[in-house]
Amino acid sequence: MSAAPQKAKAGAEKIEVIVSAVVPVNDLVTRFEFRRPDGAPFPPFSAGAHTVVEMKDQGRTRLNPYSLMSDPADPSLYAISVRRDDQGRGGSLFLHRQVKPGDRMTITYPVNLFPVDLRGRKHVFLAGGIGITPFLAMIAQLEKLGARWELHYSVRNAALGSYAGDLTARHPGKVRVYHDDQQQAIPLGDLLDGQPLGTHVYVCGPKGMIDWVHRTATEHGWPKDNVHSEEFLAPQPGTPFEVRLCKSDMTILVGENESLLEAMERCGVDAPFLCRGGACGQCETDVVDHDGSFIHRDHWLEDDQRASGKKIMPCVSRFVGPTLVLDR
């Protein structure tokens, strides 16, 4: 796998937006709707795309990726749904607590790392919790195309099943909701077995669910190319470590609660990124020298690249040891 093409300036192009609505969906999830201040249409996007939302939180800039859940055919608005994570790093709490209708914000052009494979004869969506968001856009897109799809949606309980009621009402027979509190589970093996040739399966949810779907599909003889997943990782805190950046000619300290990418940005280094969640490959960075061990957390690098000690994905991965020198 080679690195994605590098651009002159880090990140996708930006769009200024106004928050047009903040709609509580349930106790944990809130929908944020954006429009452009000049009323101009948004750039078109394909279902499965995400945008990176810039948050100015008390002098600190947070950049979090969220899947676009609005209808791709509607260029007048972008919408995201955000689950409040009380134990998280604070991005979702900022959105829930600070952002009000009328606020101006900056988001990026959409980037799609989880597209619908339109060659598919049929599309089976498997959602876990807030993983429903990209499928809302996919369902809108496929309904317009008249394509075959079905959704299997696992939620903790009925009260926390975001959009479950809307979906089942609008698409009876195509949507099944499974409630954890009633010991209901997606019957994955049975679902995989009956599908016609050319079916694609898409999973978005917790890591355990994604791994379960990939593993089970392989066991049931599904080709890898027919199984799609998306999981944005949030950077995890860790022991602070020092990094030497050769090209920038500086040595920086990555703090406990920031990622290597965020530390570079804080120090004024224009490091490339797109998804900030270990999925897209844009931030892939060459390691010049190291003494210590990597904590690779991305979905991008191959096992042999990790073993080589020559690559790191600064958006989610960390390092433990006295010396790390990067070609940045």
């Binding site: 060659r119 598919g120 004869r121 995989l192 077995d193 009956g194 599908q195 016609p196 040739l197 050319g198 079916t199 392989t218 066991e219 049931h220 003889g221 599904w222 080709p223 890898k224 190319d225 027919n226």
Partner: protein, 202 residues
């Protein structure tokens, strides 16, 4: 039958592997001539495979040499027929009835594997998920890029198009859709100046 080491070539030229058992709900195997040997080797790796296997076999010049061996594998279904075209309606029917979890194994000549792979891809299984193993003849299925006619079992370079009669140079440029290599007129600018044909592909 000895295995052929294909020289490295352009990206469009297909490459083949070695058949290996994979987990699956059903197993579709298609082979011609010496390709049966690859199926026999495959069966020897997993005794349970044949209980859910459907074999389509075209003996071609090998006649009865492999038929008894394939019967002895006791596959769930075995078809032995005279040509790929004779087997095609059966292949399409099997694919139209199949579900996800079907594993596809192709073995034998490039012409057979290419045509079968195109049918399988049209049915919705990506190329990358189809296993192939080359055995036997290196003869190529060629498309004349000028008249679009297909000439089967080309063994020399250059060769004469069986449809329009042009002298064609055998390229490694391959079409998955047509399951054919491309043949390009070798004497267009100097008609009649044709190199002596060399037997490259037995």
């Amino acid at each position: 039958m000895s295995r052929v080491q294909f020289p490295t070539s352009i990206a469009s030229r297909p490459v083949y592997g070695t058949l290996a058992p994979r987990p699956g709900k059903a197993h579709l195997m298609m082979a011609d001539a010496e390709g049966a040997g690859a199926l026999l080797d495959l069966a020897s790796q997993d005794a349970g495979l044949m209980a859910r296997a459907h074999i389509l076999y075209i003996p071609r010049a090998t006649g009865e040499a492999f038929a008894a061996g394939l019967r002895a594998l006791n596959p769930a279904q075995l078809y032995i027929g005279p040509s790929f075209d004779a087997a095609l309606p059966r292949l399409r029917r099997v694919l139209s009835d199949a579900h996800m979890g079907l594993q596809v194994y192709l073995a034998g000549t490039e012409g057979l594997m290419g045509r079968a792979a195109a049918e399988v891809a049209a049915a919705g299984i990506p190329y990358g998920a189809v296993q192939t193993e080359h055995r036997g003849s290196l003869a190529r299925r060629m498309q004349c890029v000028h008249c679009k006619g297909i000439t089967e079992d080309v063994t020399t370079d250059p060769f004469v198009c069986s449809h329009c009669g042009l002298n064609l140079f055998v390229r490694d440029h391959y079409s998955r859709r047509l399951a054919a290599f491309q043949g390009v007129c070798i004497d267009a600018e100097d008609p009649g100046n044709v190199p002596e044909p060399v037997e490259l592909y037995k």
